[in-house]
């Protein structure tokens, strides 16, 4: 019996060892990206003698192979399923799953939070210089700080897990103090949300962004602030001006995406349509496109992501409403701008939006000098306050993509 068992084992092992490379090679160009991992597949390592001598060329094949292994997504999904339902781990794929919201896992540690004041200085200095330049050109600049979902729901972390409230509070305060010291006008949306009772409905339970209602509240607060500071009377869309509806489609938030959509969630994406539509034209990266601010799904079963708002991130978006009595606005920032942009255009003649992570034509300073908008907004979430590059590159002549 042992002989038979040995031979069956050897056959099975050989089949496993041979089938994986054979299937991988057979399907090598079948796809280019990994949807749930939200990234493209690793490139085939390029031949380079230095890398061969140092071993980097060989080790790069590991990632290439691992990305293309047949059934990769199924295997990863199974692993996540086992971690969630069988092993009941409190954190899966760096997402806290043991509370009522999906939150980012934050490593433990303590440090001196006074360091934030020093760290904030270069960012505030750049924003201050940029703000002064906008004013020299006849415009006004406001920085809008928005809490990210993790810090917003800090009190939803299970008690044994680190929420870093002690750090985010100090970091935000230091950043806004630095902005104040450099004469930058800002809107601290966390304070606004707090004043409204920090409503849970403003933020997604399964995505790192706010929900559309959170964006609406931010839009209202920002427009009220602009009107107050500048003494203008820009039109502001309120809830009463909108038909707000939830899409029936399942919503795949970014955190649930890391769990392969396995977290049971009834959350639905909301959109707000104007009761009195304002006609507009839209161009993305110089190309005319449909006059839509929502990328609505084709069917009710189709998964919806945060990319619903403005169709995701674009280097440059220009929306014209042809109302010359209103000022022109420029908004730049990361993806938190997207949901807000679905409303912002209603208050301006022309609204331009830049995402400096993707926009490569010219520097922000050059853009502003040429365009000369009356209103400039920078929208950033508080986990990005201290990150350089991308939308933090406000005071440099280098083009952002360089």
């Amino acid at each position: 019996m042992k002989k038979l068992a040995d031979r069956v084992f050897l056959l099975c092992a050989a089949a496993a060892l041979l089938s994986v490379p054979a299937l991988t090679l057979a399907r090598v160009s079948a796809r280019q990206s990994l949807y749930y991992e939200n990234r493209t597949l690793a490139d085939k390592p390029a031949w380079d003698w230095e890398a061969v001598l140092e071993g980097d060329w060989f080790s790069s094949w590991e990632e290439w192979y691992s990305d293309r292994v047949p059934g990769r997504t199924t295997l990863l999904r199974l692993t996540a399923k086992a971690d969630l339902d069988l092993l009941k781990r409190p954190v899966v794929n760096d997402v806290v799953v043991s509370g009522d919201k999906l939150l980012p896992f934050l490593p433990y540690g303590r440090w001196d939070t006074r360091v934030h004041r020093t760290n904030a200085e270069p960012f505030a200095e750049d924003l201050g210089a940029f703000s002064r330049r906008v004013e020299e050109l006849g415009g006004r600049f406001w920085f809008v700080g928005i809490p990210e979902q993790g810090p917003y729901f800090y009190d939803h972390y299970p008690p044994e897990l680190e929420n870093r409230r002690w750090n985010s509070t100090a970091a935000n305060a230091a950043f806004f103090q630095a902005l104040e010291d450099h004469g930058v006008a800002y809107v601290d949306m966390e304070a606004v949300y707090d004043a409204q009772g920090r409503p849970e409905a403003y933020y997604s339970a399964v995505d790192h962004h706010y929900r559309w209602r959170g964006a609406l509240a931010a839009y209202e607060a920002v427009l009220d602030r602009i009107n107050g500071d500048a003494g203008w009377a820009l039109p502001v869309m309120r809830e009463a001006d909108l038909n707000i509806r939830a899409l029936p489609n399942p919503y795949l938030g970014s955190r649930n995406r890391k769990l392969y959509g396995l977290w049971p969630s009834e959350e639905r994406a909301e959109i707000g349509e104007l009761k009195q539509p304002i006609p507009f034209t839209r161009k993305d990266d110089g190309q005319a496109c449909g006059a839509e601010v929502y990328a609505l799904p084709g069917s009710e079963e189709q998964l919806v992501t945060y990319g619903l708002y403005m169709g995701g991130d674009h280097g440059e978006t220009v929306i014209r409403t042809n109302r010359p009595e209103l000022p022109n606005a420029l908004i730049f920032g990361d993806s938190f701008t997207n949901a807000m942009e679905t409303l912002l255009y209603t208050s301006f003649n022309e609204t331009r939006s830049l995402d400096l992570r993707y926009y490569e034509e010219k520097s922000l300073r050059e853009y502003v000098e040429e365009y000369r908008p009356e209103v400039v907004l920078c929208v950033r979430d508080n986990t990005a306050f201290y990150t350089s590059g991308g939308n933090a590159r406000v005071w440099t002549d280098e083009t952002p993509g360089a």
Partner: protein, 474 residues
């Protein structure tokens, strides 16, 4: 290249097996040639420049062996010459930086060299030296074929993380061996078990240990103990898992390497622990350092000196850092204590107490070993004993890591015990008594379990990015 990688499991290994087993068994030189070429490729995967060092090591030990053989003139010089070159290579690549850094600390104008540690250098250098020394002592024949010496030194299963195989163990099998389906199956099962130890247990426990050792500012007593225990598990499953894979792969190709671990955490003393842990290294130091120095056949002072020398070297072998030296001294002190002070009392103590004693000192020893600096050693030890732990006695961090990795932590306990042998003995007895289910379980159980473990490990391999082998840095 590491065994627990896609490129090894589903690239290198199937191609090697195909080339190797497509050659008829009678073409022994051909099969050895395939093994040598693939072994060199395996090593070159870490960087082609490493092949130069490997070539020097092979050449020095091959020539050293020929010239140090009994009957040769100046054979003593040849032996010392080969040992000196081996030690010089090891010294330069592993210790030059450490030495220079310490000279700089003493205020000397020394520029620390930028040397990258070649993987596995401690293993293949010791293996090469053992060959020359065995030939010099007349315990092994001088090998005339450079390819056989090259294959012995570069043989990929044990090349980068041991076990340290003596030439006498494999000399006969290099020249003539018979690969069988039974051996291949047993080797394959052993490989899968080793891979699972690494992928399913060691990597998970490593995450707990890493968290504890980098916790510093929030380290609590509970986290320190959890981390120390997790590291105790990690290093065992990591290293013994690698040895299982090496021994298993050896079996597939017809080699029978000696065991490197014998359930070390069952030990009842530090002395016993070192008879069960990394057996190939302990026996290397015993045979080539301790006994030549006089071993135990001398006065207590000399014995103590010999033990101290061996353990300082053992500490240094593991790494060029002060904490490794401290770890070596720690074991020297324990072994001396057991030999001259409390050994007899320990033998009379109840078994449970002896196990507890050994395990306690082993765990504390791993703290010295794992810490990245003497300051970290001090912090961890203070936290372990509740003396000014920054995070207090308990912490959310400890609770979280326990919850997150509770399955691996719990599974690690039976996995470190000799339950397999116990079960096998019972089943064998029942099979001999005529039980067909027992016989079926004995025959089909291990292969079925191995295939399941291979599948689970492969899933982990694809999904996990946390995959470091601890013993590669030695």
């Amino acid at each position: 290249m590491v065994f627990s990688s896609m490129t090894f499991l589903f690239g290198f290994l199937p191609v090697l097996l195909a080339f190797y087993f497509l050659l008829p068994q009678r073409f022994r030189r051909g099969r050895n040639g395939v093994l040598l070429v693939f072994s060199l490729l395996f090593y070159a995967w870490g960087g082609l420049r490493l092949l130069g060092l490997m070539a020097v090591s092979i050449a020095v030990n091959y020539c050293g062996g020929l010239l140090a053989a009994p009957g040769r003139r100046f054979r003593r010089w040849a032996m010392w010459g080969a040992v000196a070159v081996n030690l010089a290579l090891l010294g330069w690549f592993k210790y030059a930086g450490f030495l220079a850094e310490n000279l700089v600390l003493l205020g000397l104008p020394v520029e620390p060299p930028e040397v990258t540690l070649p993987i596995g250098i401690s293993f293949f250098t010791f293996q090469g030296m053992s060959y020359v020394l065995d030939v010099y002592r007349g315990e092994a024949p001088a090998e005339r074929s450079p390819l056989r010496v090259a294959l012995y030194i570069a043989l990929f299963p044990q090349l980068v993380a041991g076990p340290i195989v003596r030439y006498t163990t494999v000399a006969g099998e290099i020249a003539s061996r018979r690969e069988t389906a039974g051996d291949a199956a047993d080797g394959g099962v052993r490989f899968c078990v080793g891979l699972a130890k690494k992928m399913l247990l060691a990597n998970a426990l490593g995450q707990v240990a890493d968290a504890a050792f980098r916790s510093r500012t929030v380290l609590s007593t509970a986290m320190a103990w959890l981390g120390a225990l997790a590291y105790t598990g990690q290093i065992y499953f990591d290293f013994s898992g690698y040895s299982d894979m090496a021994i298993g792969l050896g079996r597939v190709f017809g080699f029978h390497f000696l065991e490197n671990f014998n359930y070390p955490y069952l030990s009842r003393s530090a002395t016993e622990f070192w008879r069960r842990w990394h057996i190939s290294l302990s026996s290397w130091f015993r045979d080539y350092v301790y006994i030549p120095l006089g071993g135990s056949r001398c006065g207590p002072a000399r014995q103590a000196g010999n033990i101290l020398a061996v353990w300082l070297l053992t500490g240094l072998w593991h790494g060029a850092a002060w904490n490794f030296l401290l770890w070596g001294l720690y074991y020297a002190a324990l072994l001396l204590g057991e030999r001259f002070l409390w050994g007899r009392a320990l033998e009379r103590a109840p078994a449970a107490l002896r196990h507890g004693y050994a395990l306690f000192f082993i765990v504390v020893g791993w703290v010295l070993f794992r810490a990245e600096s003497l300051a970290d050693v001090s912090l961890m030890l203070r936290a372990l004993f509740g003396i000014s732990a920054p995070g207090g006695l308990g912490s959310g961090e400890a609770l979280y890591y326990f919850k997150e990795f509770r399955w691996e932590l719990l599974l690690a306990v039976p996995a470190a015990l000799p339950l397999k042998g116990l079960l096998e003995r019972r089943l064998n007895r029942r099979a001999r008594e005529g039980s067909r289910p027992a016989a079926a379980l004995l025959a089909w159980g291990p292969p079925a379990l191995a295939l399941a473990l291979l599948a689970l490990s492969a899933v982990k391999l694809v999904s996990s990015t946390f995959n470091p082998f601890i013993y590669f840095r030695f």
